[in-house]
């Protein structure tokens, strides 16, 4: 029985990491229908910049703040320099641009920083917390709390604020949004800044667990993307549930079946879900009017 609990706690820890990345995907997707494959790089930048600022002598909270602001600025630059000039291009082209941007950021990071793996200390120590014979690290609780906090903030943002609704309106129909006076350029810039900031925050929270290095973004982006697809692209609730579900699924497969099939089992389940419900568990149904 303690095994089941341990697998569950492990799954939730990893799942919360996936959920954080998936939450970052939702904002840009909501604003532009684009899946930003540089999202994993934002997470990586959050961890790397924090590590190097911390190593340079800054206290951890300040280093984290700098990392989040700097990454948000990089997000804005990505939008201004790469996405905006290609406005009007099909969504697929924009997605390919984000893949290019992620390769560029990875390359720039290994030049600016280095090619080693790094980690900074956990926020509240490494003493495991015992729960019914199973253990969880305090940092895992930070990650879970972070995922929940971002989820609630995003929910409020999209449903209760004018600017959040403007984001949704822009995604729904850019021209109509412009006609009712929404500055769609501003909406896009804001989306990239927020998405990058959330990615960076995720990086700050998960680095003590997952470690960081210039090339960790791709794997995170893939798992985060899978989580977002499972839950329903563009829906914060979907991102949260999809991430946690994917994490638990992996841990259960590794624990009860075989660690060899861990990734395979997760993707088989995602494929099965997408066959039955192509929009994901919580995705909005889209209908094209002809």
């Amino acid at each position: 029985m303690p095994e089941l609990l341990q697998f569950l706690l492990s799954g939730i820890t990893v799942g919360a990491v996936y959920a954080l990345v998936a939450l970052g995907f939702t904002i840009i997707y909501n604003a532009s229908d684009v899946v930003n494959f540089a999202q994993g790089e934002f997470v990586m930048l959050g961890g790397m910049i924090t590590f190097f600022a911390h190593a340079a002598g800054l206290p951890l909270p300040l280093a984290a703040l700098i990392a989040i602001i700097a990454t948000a600025a990089i997000g804005v630059a990505l939008n201004k320099l790469a996405i905006e000039p290609a406005r009007g291009a099909p969504v697929v082209s924009l997605i390919i641009i984000t893949i290019g941007a992620s390769i560029f950021i990875r390359g720039a990071t290994q030049l600016v920083f280095d090619k080693q793996l790094h980690r900074f200390p956990a926020f509240s120590g490494d003493q495991p917390i015992l729960i019914g014979g199973a253990t969880i690290l305090p940092q895992s609780l930070w990650v879970i709390a972070g995922a929940l906090a971002i989820f609630f903030c995003l929910r409020l943002f999209f449903t209760r604020t004018l600017i959040g609704r403007a984001v949704l309106a822009t995604a729904n129909n850019r021209i109509a949004a412009q006609l009712v006076g929404i500055n769609t350029n501003y909406v896009m810039t804001l989306s990239f800044a927020m998405s990058a900031a959330i990615g960076a925050l995720a990086g700050v929270l998960v680095t003590p667990i997952t470690l960081t290095g210039y090339d960790v973004g791709l794997a995170l982006a893939l798992k985060g993307f899978a989580a977002a697809m499972l839950g329903g692209m563009g829906n914060p609730k979907g991102a949260l549930v999809g991430g946690l579900l994917l994490g638990v699924l992996e841990a259960m497969t590794a624990g009860y079946i075989s660690s060899q099939y861990k990734d395979a089992a997760a993707f088989v389940v995602i494929l099965a879900v997408l066959f039955a419900m192509p929009q994901g568990l919580f995705g909005r149904k889209s209908t094209d009017r002809v």
Partner: protein, 379 residues
């Protein structure tokens, strides 16, 4: 106009003439970027540093060394293109490189066909087994690391272990080598788990190992972030059995990543280079590793790594061979490398023969234990 033409012509002649001043051309194809960059980067820096050093001291047999380095990014196809270019266009007399087993295996046929000596910097035993006339290598093999670990286990009376390995190339290859020879030591594997190279949590696998009756120790062949996370999870779950890691993580960076507390008591085979400061005064490798470590850290400002040490040994063996051969003809160099005897490198003491193009024995590994965030030699 005429003046301009003459200067251009003169510059052209000089430009062509300069490299033709009978330098000894040595080629290298390394993974300075890409997934194996943290191996290839110190290797390239080491080669450049040593060549400068050797040239400043008057070169080899009175001739300067010209080093031509290509960055293959860890891609075997690119490595093969560069290997061909080194042989056909650059006309090098010997090549160092192949940072990874993949790139090394891809380029060996090029050098065997062209009859140019090649010293690989990759781990797999396949590179020199079976022996190919022109192919050598400097890093010890997985199998040697396994043997070193099993010897230590046997000494401690451990007969039943659990294995958790990375599913990447390094982890899979070392797991296979270890399982291949484990029977010779009378040790039995009761649990055999794996993890992906980018996984963030290995507690489910370790929980299963912990739950197996009778296990006395755990072995983790792996590389990169996986072993650090395994070590942290191992401490989190309070497994309480000896944990053995591989030479793949033998660096100070590993202790930093895993955290000194979690890494306490972890045992692994490492090279003399890693523990340069704590080597006994009379250790034959002490002078070599200390000199290299100091020079490298002064030149690059970065901590020295085992991988740079492989490149150091390769170039020194090559220069030693050229000096002894008194000739820079590829076939003479090959013969001289094969006759290397008692060469003291950073990895170990190398004595090659026609049947052994690696030339290292188990003394190339020191059994190390992590103690209070530092290293301790335990033999």
């Amino acid at each position: 106009m005429k003046f301009a033409f003459t200067t251009t012509a003169l510059a052209l002649v000089l430009g062509l003439a300069a490299p033709a001043l009978a330098d000894i051309k040595i080629g290298a194809t390394l993974s300075e970027t890409g997934p194996a960059a943290f191996l290839g980067d110190p290797e390239a820096k080491t080669l450049k540093m040593l060549v400068e050093e050797i040239n400043a001291a008057g070169g080899v047999n009175g001739e300067k060394i010209e080093l031509i380095v290509y960055d293959d990014g860890g891609d075997p196809n690119k490595a093969r293109t560069f290997a061909t270019r080194l042989v056909e266009d650059d006309e090098v007399v010997a090549v160092i490189g192949g940072t990874t087993t993949g790139t090394s295996m891809a380029i060996i046929p090029v050098f065997e066909d062209a009859e140019v000596p090649f010293i690989s910097l990759a781990g797999a035993i396949e590179i020199i087994d079976p022996v190919k006339p022109y192919t050598f290598k400097t890093p010890h093999t997985d199998r040697m690391a396994c043997a070193k670990i099993f010897e230590d286990m046997k000494k401690a009376g451990i007969t039943k272990i659990g294995v958790i390995s990375g599913s990447d190339g390094f982890g899979a290859s070392m797991r296979k080598q270890c399982l291949g020879i484990i029977g010779e030591y009378g040790i039995e594997v009761l649990a055999d788990e794996t993890y992906g190279p980018t996984d963030a949590d290995m507690t489910p696998q370790l929980t299963n190992i912990k739950g197996k009756e009778g296990i006395q120790a755990v072995l983790n062949p792996g590389f990169g972030q996986g072993p650090a996370i395994v070590t942290r999870n191992y401490a989190q779950l309070a497994v309480g059995l000896p944990l053995y890691q591989s030479h793949g993580v033998a660096s100070d960076g590993f202790i930093e990543l895993a955290g000194a507390e979690a890494a306490e008591g972890v045992r692994l085979p490492g090279t003399a280079l890693l523990v340069a400061e704590i080597l006994p005064e009379n250790d034959p490798q002490r002078a070599v590793v200390t000199a290299y470590k100091e020079a490298y850290e002064k030149a690059t400002g970065k901590p020295v790594s085992t991988f740079g040490g492989y490149a150091h040994d390769a170039l020194r063996i090559l220069v030693d061979a050229i000096t002894r051969a008194g000739s820079a003809e590829p076939s003479d160099i090959r013969g001289a490398i094969e006759a290397t005897k008692g060469f003291v490198g950073t990895t170990g003491i190398v004595t090659m023969t026609a049947e052994d193009h690696l030339g290292l024995d188990l003394s190339a590994f020191r059994m190390l234990e992590i103690e209070k965030g530092g290293w301790k030699i335990v033999e």
